[in-house]
Amino acid sequence: LTPPCTDARAASLWLNDDAVRSAIHAAPKQVIGEWTLCSNHLFYTRVVPSLIPTHKSLTQKHGLRALIYSGDHDMAVPHTGSEVWTSTKLDAPETAPWRPWMVASQVAGYVVDYGSLSYATVKGAGHMVPTNKPKESLTMFKRFLDGEP
């Protein structure tokens, strides 16, 4: 219901408050039960073993822009894996080399471009990057949306 090491009390209290449910037009607890951070109702099957061919198709055939980013202190989906597939499995040339990206004159992480797909790290962030690095995350998000380096 709650992943290890995670404090979900604020969200649980708020989303299980009848007044909140009513205010945000969500179904009441009497109908759909308690809100939990992660569901134990789901019986989910992973049927796609790899999304790398999909990334290639979306960015190289359909012209979408993509940003893959990693908080570099996350051990659940470590940056070491994302760096490997973005650098060696996309069959895309490196169009801008590995370099630091900055926020307020500080190194916020590193970034490398493979055509329309960029891979970036966020230094000192964990799995939930905006939680740990809110300012850097908003800056990264805005630059990506605006098509800036």
Partner: protein, 333 residues
């Protein structure tokens, strides 16, 4: 759409800085109802892009993003006369500063989304999830016609490394097949994205060695015994598998989601029933231990810096004034 407009949010005092909407959109034919919370951009929503956010799991609610990551509010537990409550203040770094943010609980059975058909609809997979989310999106853009020409992005993290590209593909292919309304998708972004069984499965040992959570010698042995770094599909009971178990043991006390952060309630806590008193006590203990550890780290940092004869500013000391030159200050970047 007007029925979904949110007038006020409990816990937050004041006027909302932009329009908020929340409600359900039905998908499929069996009674699935997907819940969304939409926060308009604080400046010029008609020009700002629309960005869908999906948390992962699979099975985790996108209110994780809304409450803890980049939503419009900061949430804080507060003691009230009636007990514990939640106070909301505006988040200076909310992503809706620059985009119209659409938080979706997906698939049905997650967060506030559900099915009138009950649990039989909670059996799902990657492709059904993508198809339902695409249907949701086209219906959402039908409800919010003013955003149909807006630039559109899909975002998420973790297992959304599966959700996001699958949904982007469904949207692109739907557009090509003439599905209405056309969705003006421009791109996507994903944090710490689950992507590939083999690559993701091989990532942990290198991470652990790179962060010095295990020794280089332990990593080198692993590499050799695991067929040159082929960690992900080790046969049970083989030497590689046993060494991987050792690695997992070595890092198991850490917070898997952030090796720098304390672990709330401990990594092996699996009690789904919440007990506020126990949680409070546990949290206090964890906080106390974290404080001691932090002080110990600071002490050792100060000793190390003294031994190098440098006057580095350290946490808690006075920061330099504007214009004041501090030896090596800039290298701290």
């Amino acid at each position: 759409k007007q029925n979904d407009l949110i007038d006020a949010v409990p816990g937050f005092d004041g006027e909302l800085p932009s329009k908020h909407y929340g409600g359900y959109i039905p998908v499929g034919t069996s009674g699935k109802r997907l819940y969304y919370y939409f926060v308009e951009a604080e400046t010029d929503p008609s020009e700002a892009p629309v960005v869908l956010w999906l948390n992962g799991g699979p099975g985790c609610s996108s209110f994780d993003g809304f409450v803890y990551e980049h939503g419009p509010f900061n949430f804080r537990l507060a003691d009230t006369k009636a007990g514990q409550g939640v106070k909301l203040t505006l988040n200076s770094y909310a992503w809706n500063k620059v985009a119209n943010m659409l938080f979706l609980d997906s698939p049905a059975g997650v967060g506030l989304s559900y099915s009138e058909a009950g649990p039989r609809d909670y059996r799902t997979d990657d492709l059904v999830t993508a198809a339902d989310a695409e249907e949701f999106l086209r219906k959402w853009f039908t409800r919010y016609t003013q955003f149909q020409s807006s630039r559109f992005f899909i975002s998420g993290e973790s297992y959304a490394g599966m959700y996001v590209p699958n949904l982007a593909r469904a949207v692109v292919e739907g557009n090509e097949d003439g599905a209405e309304p056309y969705i003006n998708i421009e791109g996507y972004l994903i944090g710490n994205a689950v992507t590939d069984t083999e690559v993701d499965g091989n990532a942990l040992p290198l991470f652990a060695a790179g962060k010095s959570l295990i020794s280089q010698a332990q990593y080198d042995t692993l590499w050799k015994r695991c067929d040159g770094g082929n960690f992900w599909n080790a046969s049970a009971g083989c030497e590689c598998d046993e060494l991987l178990d050792d690695l997992v043991d070595a890092v198991s006390a850490l917070n898997v989601y952030d090796v720098l952060e304390p672990c709330y309630l401990g990594p092996n806590y699996d009690d789904g029933e919440e007990d506020q008193d126990d949680e409070g006590e546990g949290w206090a203990k964890v906080q106390g231990a974290a404080k001691k550890k932090k002080q110990a780290r600071l002490n050792s940092l100060q000793k190390a810096l003294k031994s190098h004869g440098r006057k580095w500013p350290v946490v808690g000391s006075a920061l330099p004034r504007v214009g004041e030159r501090v030896h090596n200050w800039h290298t701290l970047g």
